[in-house]
Symmetry: C2
Subunit: 172 residues, 2 copies
């Protein structure tokens, strides 16, 4: 957890390992069925930006999250998701910014919807670049390794299957 010197964090992430995860990206409507994305072995990244977050933050954040040794390999060694190699499922999760006030939960520190949507798209794009680069260098990533993500602002209908979630909190 790396907090900005002298200040509150501007981004909060929760990471969970999965053997499979499935997220609805478009709900069912009258004429269409709900649509889902899915990953197999990899990491689910729940993501929330606070006021003060900006694009400058993102390269360090993505590099840190994708290179931290948070994942258990088949041999029991801790490795990064790039080394695993594993897929990513990125889930926008504004509720992570909640603070309790009495029995209520408030979200006053959260970034505006427009800025959040823009940073979220940029974060996803950077993750895709890192995973592609790792595949090209053959340092990690194998067949079937993908970056999938939810739709910002939507309900995140999620199904998660783990062999131990190894839940981590990382703030930036």
């Amino acid at each position: 957890m790396s907090v900005r010197e002298g200040g509150a964090p501007v981004a909060r992430t929760v990471l969970q390992q999965c053997v499979q995860a499935r997220l609805q990206v478009s709900p069912a409507e009258q004429d269409t069925e709900a649509q889902f994305v899915q990953i197999d072995r990899g990491v689910v990244i729940y993501l929330c930006f606070f006021k003060g977050a900006n694009e400058e933050l993102l390269p360090r954040m993505v590099s840190s999250l994708l290179n931290l040794r948070l994942c258990e390999s088949a041999s029991g060694k801790m490795v990064s998701v790039l080394e695993l190699p594993g897929s990513l499922l990125i889930v926008p999760q504004a509720t992570l910014g909640g603070k309790s006030k009495g029995r209520a939960v408030q979200y006053h520190s959260n970034i505006s919807k427009e800025d959040g949507r823009r940073l979220y798209a940029a974060f996803v794009s950077l993750c895709e670049q890192e995973v592609t680069a790792a595949a090209a260098s053959s340092a990690g990533t194998g067949p079937g390794v993908t970056v999938q993500h939810g739709t910002y602002g939507n309900r995140q209908v999620l199904k998660l299957d783990t062999n131990g979630p190894y839940t981590h909190l990382m703030e930036f």
Copy 2:
């Protein structure tokens, strides 16, 4: 998120809503199959204690977590898990105490295994008392509402099915 005045938090929880969650409490062995506990609608509480946590903390912590309006009712109103009424699945999750140092993740702030086990058992017991009391007062909780929990120190093989996890971080 309520942090101790003038100090770092001594307990970290992550909460996720579920429509069903299933946790392995005993792994398969030569002569026995793996054993699982399961809840339907309710909240999964991932729990980690830091050095400095003690029993005094627990009543306030449990009361806060069970009474915070973190859950979406069928009508879309935000209510507590007691009001929902929902079940609890309590998952010991020492990885929540991780801090990054370079690419490694360290857990130096985590409580000792013995103290953690004791506080975890007391936390589970208090949750059971609160849910039973709420049922008795008929303020909440209906048939099928239960408190289930993982085995401290074990691998937490978890399967989670959500209608939106509404992930929240609460520290004490």
